[in-house]
Amino acid sequence: MATATKDGLESDIVKFISQCRKKEHPESYLIAVLHKVQEKYGYLSQDHMNEVAQRLQVPTSTVSGVATFYHFFRLRPRGKYAISVCLGTACFVKGADKVLNAFQTELGIEMGETTADGLFSLENTRCLGVCALAPVVTINDTVYSKVTANQVPELIRQVKSGKNVEG
């Protein structure tokens, strides 16, 4: 376990940033740094973004500009199980909208929200490139293929009971 520095970011990220500072065009590594922060903490908090700005020596406005521009970056924490429904063309044609509806009904949340118990959050993605197995849903890093709306309640039960998915 890496130790936290006094102002937040853990030492491996701090080290990565200082390595980037030594390279050509250090500011160009901003997106890479934000990826690392999100990977570690699950989302980009305001404090972490401020620290990135300071350590990488780029304006905070640039950091928040970049963080808000790219869909991949989350500014709020996600649930323990992040359910992502692919809404790419192939999935759409094969009924992904119905699958999404089923998740919304079953979990009682809308797209982009997290359940009150912090267990599930619902997101969409624009094509994972697994189109031949459409419609596709990912829960954390596990890919589920050919999902139908009817399977949704069972899938959620399975996840809750800790089967199939790494938390």
Partner: protein, 726 residues
């Protein structure tokens, strides 16, 4: 040959010796796919199970190998069992239970399991499998004449034609230019021999020796270029594969993508070695002469782009970039290519770097492709260790380094100027061109940006020459194109065909047609920037010009098949929703225009549209095309405009009759209960979220249309098919 080639020779010998010494050639190979889609289909546990069984059996003559994607997505996980000297057997949709059967029956008892084989419709075994080269370009009849001739001559020589399975295969790239149709080629399994013949007499001799006397007709043996032969030897006996011509995917499904050794033994890095001993100008000339055009969608001549970057200024710093930000929903060509054969992209970029005088290259990859990123990282590190990247590559004095930059989920970053800003760590908003990236690109220096597939073509062109490459394809579109075939088609997957192949060949012959006996309605190419091609145009040969002429574009290669159950208004709306949410917001036509178009489409799909709306859509669409800043906006109206042109009657049906014939627009569906079929089980009434279904137990139920929210729950739960969609 120069220094680099000497370096290559030593490298090749090393890897080849190691391979020979390992005895792999004489072993039985079990191949299990290892791409994202195959893993999603369950390939990992299948591979582990084989490993366990091999160990338990104590057999040292069986080797398990993980390879990239063969492109046979709908049948994954696909497992190949290759016994030296035998038919190359492929099994489909392999489960753990099937692993047991395959191992016991095929590997232990030597009996291939017919009923588990890929695309095997009968349990029958054939003595021989023959693939006739029947490329549409050489034989307009598609090789039917030759087939008839072959069958009758077999019969005449006392060979039962039924003991031989005949396929018509795609071009194997054997014939010199100008010899079209004058010579013919066939490949014979299980021997995997390639015969070349010019006339009936020669054909007779081959039949006599090979099929009647079971000897080899040595005189007529020929060899295709190594890459084609390799592929056909393992996959040629399956119709899905033998119609294809694989150049950029030449190693996908053949080599272990994580093994540099595999790549080198399959002609990898030979092209780079030859190039480094020569002159950069020669490379640019060769690429220009080959007629290679950008595979990312635009179709700009690659050689011209390279020349511009090299000659525009004396700036000593230049860059090459690989655009692997495959954002089109429904496209997965680049992912498969990167996962299946990362080294070919790296070699291509190194050749490009040498040609344009760049010392550094960037691979801009979607963050959504973790496995592709991992394989690329591994490949870059490995290439560096072997002096194939970094300083003094292959002792040639040329320095070149590659770095991966991750995207972060912004479709607009596929646009080249936006992509450059993103590499620079900024918001990916496009800018006006000129200056073009070849003039002022990354950090103001000349930059060549090409798509994954374009780069993957480069080593092959430099290896076999521009003349060889330009034989494939049509007059203005050379080479092959990879398509990601998805949607309502039986064989969803990845296919690579020569330019000029018709949509019919791709969808019916390779794709296996539409499932469940439904009717083809349209083919969507080019993703959110493309258009919907109506079924009536299915005989259109696919190349840049032809697709543009019928209102679509080649795009990067997404091909979604739509059938009668798809509503074209809803499909157009889907694409516009996508571009609308991906619009970066910098220019007004794209930001506001697409939103207004979307609002109109929403009205129409809710049954509130008017005829005037259709005119507005057209006017607005054309305005956005003309006035948007970048390609995203300029092409965003395409799906709507092409749907309006080809399927206007569907829009009118939504407006006038308030009806969606495909039952896809929820607001236009009217759920009703069939009094004849309803048994009064009350299930629908209990499940209705707004309690709009009335009726007592064992009596016919009725839906209150005013209260119904059209959620479809009653339709889904009814066990007696009594709920109708109208």
């Amino acid at each position: 040959m120069g220094q680099a080639f000497d370096f290559y020779q030593i490298l090749f010998d090393q890897h080849n010796h190691a391979y020979e010494a390992s005895g792999e050639k004489d072993k039985i190979i079990i191949q299990v796919g290892a791409a994202t889609c195959e893993i999603a289909a369950g390939a990992d546990p299948v591979a582990r199970e084989f490993e366990k069984l091999i160990q338990a059996s104590g057999r040292k003559d069986i080797l398990l190998k993980r390879v990239g994607c063969t492109g046979r997505c709908a049948r994954e996980p696909v497992v190949g069992v290759f016994v030296p000297g035998g038919m190359p057997v492929k099994y489909e949709q392999v489960t753990l239970a099937k692993v047991q059967t395959i191992f016991q029956t095929h590997l232990q008892q030597g009996q291939p399991v017919a009923e588990l084989m890929l695309d095997k419709k009968t349990g029958k075994f054939y003595e021989y499998v023959v693939i006739l080269c029947s490329s549409g370009q050489c034989s307009p009849s598609g090789g039917k004449q030759l087939e008839t001739k072959l069958r009758s001559r077999l019969h005449a020589r006392g060979v039962d034609p039924q003991s031989i399975r005949l396929f018509h295969g795609g071009c194997m790239g054997l014939c010199p230019a100008g010899s079209k149709g004058k010579q013919r080629v066939m490949m014979v399994f299980p021997e995997k021999i390639l015969y070349l013949f010019h006339n009936d007499q020669e054909l007779d001799e081959i039949i006599d020796l090979q099929f009647a006397r079971h000897q080899t007709a040595e005189k007529y043996i020929t060899h295709a270029d190594f890459i084609t032969e390799q592929f056909f030897r393992l996959y040629g006996d399956v119709a899905f594969f033998n119609k294809q011509t694989r150049l950029t995917l030449r190693n996908s499904g053949l080599v272990d993508p994580e093994s540099l050794s595999d790549y080198i033994r399959n002609k990898g890095y030979e092209a780079l070695a030859r190039v480094l001993d020569g002159d950069p100008g020669f490379v640019i000339d060769e690429i220009t002469r080959s007629g290679l055009r950008g595979r990312g969608g635009g179709g700009f001549p690659t050689g011209v782009k390279w020349k511009n970057a090299r000659t525009y200024s004396n700036d000593p710093i230049r860059y090459v970039v690989c655009n692997a930000d495959e954002g089109d929903p429904g496209a997965f060509m680049d992912r498969s290519a990167l996962e299946g054969d990362p080294y070919i992209i790296i070699e291509g970029m190194t050749i490009g770097g040498f040609a344009v005088g760049a010392q550094r290259g960037y691979l801009y990859v979607r963050a959504e492709y973790p496995l592709a990123i991992k394989r690329l990282e591994m490949a870059i590190e490995n290439a560096g260790k072997h002096q194939l990247l970094g300083k003094n590559i292959m002792n040639s004095g040329f320095d070149f380094d590659l770095e991966i930059r991750l995207g972060a989920g912004a479709f607009v970053c596929g646009e080249e100027t936006a992509l450059m800003y993103s590499i620079e760590g900024k918001r990916g908003q496009p800018r006006i061109r000129p200056p073009y990236p070849t003039q002022a690109g990354l950090w103001g220096h000349p930059t060549v940006i090409n798509n994954v597939e374009t780069w993957a073509n480069v080593p092959t062109i430099m290896l076999f020459g521009a003349d060889w490459f330009s034989r494939l394809g049509t007059e203005k579109s050379k080479g092959t194109k990879v398509f990601a075939l998805a949607g309502k088609v039986n064989n969803t997957g990845l296919v690579e065909v020569p330019m000029g192949t018709t949509l019919r060949d791709i969808i019916e012959d390779i794709g296996g047609g539409i499932p469940n006996g439904k009717q083809l309605k349209a083919i969507q190419t080019g993703g959110p920037s493309g258009g919907c091609i109506p079924a009536s145009r299915i005989d259109t040969p696919v190349d840049y010009e032809n697709l543009a002429a019928i209102g679509s574009i080649m795009g990067s290669g997404g091909m979604i098949v739509l059938d009668e159950d798809d509503c074209m208004v809803a499909t157009a709306k889907f694409f516009l929703e996508f571009t609308q949410s991906e619009s970066c917001g910098k220019c007004v036509p794209c930001r506001e225009g697409t939103l207004r178009m979307l609002e109109i489409l929403e009205r129409i799909t809710c049954g509130k549209g008017t005829h005037e709306d259709l005119d507005k859509l057209e006017r607005l669409g054309r305005l956005i095309q003309k006035t948007s800043l970048c390609g995203l906006g300029q092409t965003a109206p395409n799906p709507v405009l092409s749907a309006l042109e080809n399927f206007r009657e569907e829009f009118i049906q939504h407006i006038d009759e308030k009806r969606c014939a495909a039952h896809q627009c929820q607001q236009l569906i009217r759920y009703e209960i069939d009094a004849e079929k309803c048994v009064g089980c009350t299930l629908c009434a209990r499940r209705c979220p707004v309690s709009c279904i009335s009726g007592k137990a064992k009596e016919v139920h009725v839906i209150d249309q005013d209260k119904c929210i059209k959620c479809g729950e009653c339709y889904n739960v009814c066990k007696f098919d009594a709920v109708m969609k109208n």
